[in-house]
Symmetry: C2
Subunit: 323 residues, 2 copies
């Protein structure tokens, strides 16, 4: 028996076939190519159909599929809000998949929920029932697992940790995406580096405004390696924010493990010791002493594995012994 996981991102689709044991036996990636609305839904149907045929042809038919979506999944309605896919303000993905695959078990969840499910299944939180995935990329979100279940909240919006307030005064730039995200997501780090490089008298480092005026997060981490003072200052500020947010998650939820993932971790993974040290100043000491702080074990595949686990979970529900 096998299951299929699909990770729908804002720009591409990844699909995989998993054995029950968690072994990934087949995978594919496709560009979403700017598809929106029904065309984006059709791309999911097509990839799922192809992966099913490949699994069947390999002699291991798939009985269930899980889909990770880049936004919010409303479990009550089966609809998706995905800000980076046109026309997906309230898209009826579950209905479309059930119509296309009437005999397949299908389950959907947000990419952040899938990321913690994937890490708890086959990654850095393997076997843990109390774990948090902190996804730091162009935005910041958290997948939270408490006693083995994903925390969804009243309106399926739980995990919006990018909105965490970490210090007054309130600044105008927090209004669009939250304080923590403004300071410590990729774009915030790059913008602060550009601002500081332009305003630091006598600064002649690699982060000074070039012909195109652009600084990327990758530029900042490369400059940090080269001991650039602007990069050092910007990263100090991000480390403080990541550390305080880690502390607040640890004090509130007492997890066994917190995983830093997303595009920024990545290059920032070498900062985990400093982030832990910052968190230790703030957090409840018993919880902080026992928590493991790790980089993602699955990297960009965390949500893909989580989608596979969703599928497995949907099958467990069929049998009397399942949960």
């Amino acid at each position: 028996m096998s299951v299929i996981g699909i990770d729908l991102g804002g720009t591409k689709l990844a699909g995989a076939v998993f054995r029950e044991t968690g072994t990934l036996v087949d995978r594919q990636t496709r560009k979403l190519g700017g598809r929106s609305g029904e065309a984006a839904g059709a791309a999911v149907v097509e990839m799922l159909s192809d992966m099913r045929h490949r699994a069947a042809a390999a002699g291991d038919p798939a009985e269930a599929a899980g889909i990770a979506v880049p936004g919010i999944y409303a479990a009550r309605t089966g609809r998706v809000w995905a800000p980076n896919i046109g026309g997906w303000e309230d898209y009826p993905l579950l209905g479309q998949l059930q119509a296309a695959f009437p005999y397949l078990h299908v389950r959907i969840d947000s990419d952040r929920a899938c990321s913690i499910l994937g890490e708890a299944w086959q990654g850095a939180a393997h076997g843990s029932r109390n774990a948090v995935f902190l996804a730091v990329g162009t935005g910041i979100g958290a997948g939270i697992m408490a006693d083995g279940r994903v925390v969804r909240g009243f309106g399926d919006v739980a995990g919006a940790i990018g909105w965490m307030g970490l210090g007054s005064p309130f600044r105008e730039e927090y209004r669009t995406c939250g304080a923590f995200e403004s300071i410590a997501a990729g774009p915030g780090i790059a913008a602060e580096a550009a601002r500081l490089a332009a305003s630091t008298a006598g600064y002649e480092g690699v982060l000074r405004p070039g012909a195109d005026g652009r600084v990327t997060t990758a530029d900042v981490f490369a400059a940090l390696e080269a001991l650039d003072p602007v990069a050092g200052q910007v990263v100090d500020r991000a480390v403080e924010a990541w550390g305080m947010a880690l502390a607040n998650v640890v004090s509130l939820l007492d997890p066994e493990v917190v995983i830093f993932g997303g595009g920024v971790f990545g290059p920032a993974a070498s900062l985990l010791d400093r982030i832990r040290a910052e968190a230790t100043r703030w957090a409840q000491p018993i919880s902080m002493a026992q928590v493991r702080v790790e980089a993602s074990g699955l990297g960009a595949d965390a949500a893909l594995f989580g989608a596979g686990h969703l599928a497995l979970d949907s099958l467990a529900g069929r049998s009397p012994g399942g949960s």
Copy 2:
């Protein structure tokens, strides 16, 4: 059928008999009288025994009991850490109660867990499955319910929200009880008022250091009513901290309702509109727009009702349909 709830505090014991419907039909309060170690455990046994006899004499025998304890309950071992009861660093309360009442279902949990259970059963979170109780008194703690279950964490320490970091720089006074608690629990509010009254040139209000040099939290709220400027300034700072902490809980957990309780709410309940306004600046907007922010519906009885609900829950576990 009835159940018994007992709320063990640092200085007193409250006990009640509840009908299944949540009606409180009998209650008692006793001073703990400085009892520690086994004597404190014996006081719980004695009160439970008395409440059982009273329920039986009233023709409504109790089949289960729940106990709220003032600290941490380790569900795996049945032991209690209660900092305000001498000798209760690791006290085997469950074992003692099971030995004394071999035929009674007994369940124990922390006061903060019981407070949210009580409010969800019969208080301001009635019927909610996603709710948070913020207890603000001499300390600050949170009881968190996600999808109908209390969030306990890996080591049963979840809810230590008093340790939430709300702004750098880190201050020495945060080291003993956390940043949020230092600023916004009762003692922190009183200490800040005393400090500010002493250091404000020309201040002649009621909060200036008296013969005994003491300022209480009650003094501060009384002075606030009288538009005292020092009280105003101190409470502004606390409102900002309560609002940011509320925002952070809302963004992370997307609850349906957040309840402010404990001794400070109480007098600070009139500030809930200001606290909500502060939180609205920081929090994830969808979650913030839908969350209810309420004062405790059960006041000082929240944990007592929650203990009663624990007892009911232990009975639900007996039958195949229970959970």
